[in-house]
Symmetry: C2
Subunit: 412 residues, 2 copies
């Protein structure tokens, strides 16, 4: 490993992002397991892109077969692409029935932002203070507005960040204040763009009807409600879409990460008039989307989710995992445990009960050495993030709980 | 087909871009051939992404095997990714030895622009009046600055477009004037960003040393020379990179389209300090790059190009194809024929010898009905674009010439 890591750093640079103080060299994946170059197995409780499990045989077969048949761009018509698009659109509520495909979540979020600008004639966007929506210059304007990384950055006149939900009214009131501020500045509201379950924000508790109220406010101001489903979508929450879980009806939904099970693939679904306006104004074309191999991979993902009953499994295993964590009772450093289906956020606290990002980081590194892969989230980096492939079973959860209990015990 | 096309238009919108007045529904590809839903075969003289041929068995095997082994993101170390990165970097001249991978050419061009801004501290970019570099808001600022689509668009203060080379000094003088203009405006030059062979511009004739002179000018002004190799790279020109063909040394090279033979994959290569500055400043991460499946596909592409001698073949077949077109002598509507390796641009003219975009469009549609797929390029859309997969043979070229001769004859 030492050698490969050195070569990695030489060719990609010292600052190329890697997980863990001691990075992992992975060579194989199968289901919820990953194997490293030393032959060591890791229970994967982090990766959502391989949502139907690493090296899922149906995905592998679908991609291999389509690669051997045809893979070419979308200025030709492809039956497999049309079949997939229709099936995907049918999983959304009316009027979300027309699609634009792309490769990355960033690309899809930018398309959604363009649609909102073109539809409303306004330029302003509202998101949370701790959002992350992508890595390019337009979408990146919405990232981490209130966080440490924002210090010293120029304030973007077209973007407002609102505080996270906390049981009080500050989230909804923050949106209302942001709308007033954009209107007073003469910018107007193009849209609210938020992850439907506030994933990167650490899954703060959304009260019943809170997101629906946000949607009502933005509609009243002439803006659109954009649901970022890149992390929330594809059965993660126990519903097909996070907006169903959180109880609101978006005007645009953005999909990504698990959509192609490792084949780069993303998409935007909206009403036909919203899509038409975008296509007429931008002549958008993407060489690498929508292609037959992406569609074949995407179809296999939907097949597996449906055939293996993963919507129900996600709900059950997520609850089991969250309850199990809550019940560990071996440390006072573990604070609130929240879950949205099979997405669990657990606060790690210092001895005084304050968010402890450094301690959480130590836990994540210790878990890696104990054979379990988890991550971090939230504005203070103190939320342990457990987001395994959807095929994670109750038995897998039990194994994780046993290992993580020992990690917590030694970390305290 | 009628039914699939209707369904395509319903789900993607009437304005989703499709080739040909009568679009093609493709179901299979093999080598330089594409098969449609009616069982009709088409000689592919357009597609560069499947550069080593449609459904190339080595690419299919590499992708299938890697999909069945491991496909997960780049915050873990992967030997196959490091191997590929080192091999790719070794194909470039010093000091281009450090890489950032992404999915699309757009993403890679935006990374290159960020690198140039961060390295120079300047904000201005210079490209040609007829460039196309990508589909997002930052990169899109460089598109079609002097073209019909630019009419009514606000002028971007940080971007300058220069006239195309025409044998006079106007191209180099245009760059010098653009540099003066950006300096006088206090914006400064971050970089010149151009396709190394001016592909979308219709392959206008670059004089010996002309691009090198542009590089000299931009360096003297404190800016970087960015070679867009998305179309020019990977043996298209008969050299590995278009900048070798055109005779200049870029500070940054951007790669895309054929890189993954249909797997979305792009990249930026630059000197280590340029890459480090970018990584330190942006914390750039891309979920879908650099991944083992992309690297496996990319490695197969390099293997095939080397093992099948495609650098030499591209040079020979490109010359054969261009000479054959010039020799057709059946119509006065065919003007100058230019080629850069296996990339041919042929001007289509009206009866008065002026660029005839409408006539060229009719030729492309007629060729499609005659069983040959070609495209259009250039600022007036009058340049017939022949850019087949690199495995296109002299016999394939002869077959194309026979068919296209009949198309030209009936179009005149």
């Amino acid at each position: 490993m030492g050698e490969t890591l050195d070569r990695h750093r030489r060719i990609f640079g010292e600052r190329a992002p890697l997980f863990y103080d001691e990075p992992l060299e992975l060579i194989r994946g199968e289901g919820v397991w990953l194997l490293d170059a030393h032959g060591r197995r890791y229970l994967d409780a982090y990766n959502n892109v391989p949502c139907v499990g690493h090296a899922n045989p149906r995905v592998v077969a679908a991609v291999s077969e389509q690669m051997a048949t045809l893979q070419v761009h979308s200025r030709y018509v492809h039956g497999v692409v049309v079949d997939y698009a229709e099936r995907l659109a049918a999983l959304h509520a009316d009027p979300l029935s027309s699609l634009v495909f792309a490769c990355s979540g960033t690309e899809a979020d930018e398309i959604a932002m363009s649609m909102a600008r073109l539809t409303t004639g306004n330029r302003g966007f509202i998101t949370t203070e701790a959002a992350y929506h992508g890595n390019n210059s337009d979408v990146g304007r919405l990232n981490d507005i209130g966080g440490r990384a924002s210090v010293g950055k120029p304030v973007d006149p077209e973007v407002r960040g609102v505080p996270l939900p906390d049981g009080s009214r500050r989230f909804v009131e923050g949106v209302a204040a942001a709308i007033r501020s954009l209107d007073e500045a003469g910018i107007g509201v193009a849209g609210v763009l938020m992850c439907s379950i506030l994933a990167n924000e650490g899954l703060p508790p959304l009260a019943d009807g809170e997101m629906a109220e946000v949607a009502e406010l933005v509609h009243a101001a002439g803006g659109l409600m954009i649901a970022d489903e890149v992390q929330a979508g594809f059965a993660r929450s126990g519903r097909w879409w996070g907006y169903e879980f959180s109880g609101f009806e978006p005007d645009i939904a953005v999909m990504g990460k698990p959509m192609g099970a490792g084949v780069p693939f993303s998409g935007v679904v909206a009403a036909p008039d919203v899509v038409d306006r975008f296509r007429s104004s931008t002549r958008y074309f993407n060489t690498f989307a929508a292609t037959p191999v992406q569609a074949a991979a995407g179809m296999a993902v939907i097949d597996v989710i449906e055939d293996e009953g993963l919507l129900a499994q996600t709900t059950q295993v997520g609850r089991h995992l969250a309850d199990g964590l809550r019940g560990l009772g071996i440390t006072d450093r573990l604070g609130e445990v929240r879950n949205v289906g099979l997405f669990v956020g657990a606060d790690w606290l210092d001895a005084d009960g304050a968010p402890d990002g450094q301690g959480a980081r130590a836990v994540v590194n210790a878990a890696r050495h104990a054979g379990v892969l988890i991550g971090l989230d939230g504005p203070h980096g103190h939320v342990l993030k457990l987001r395994p492939p959807l095929v994670f079973s109750a038995a897998d959860a039990d194994q994780l709980l046993e290992i993580i209990a020992a990690v917590f015990a030694s970390a305290t």
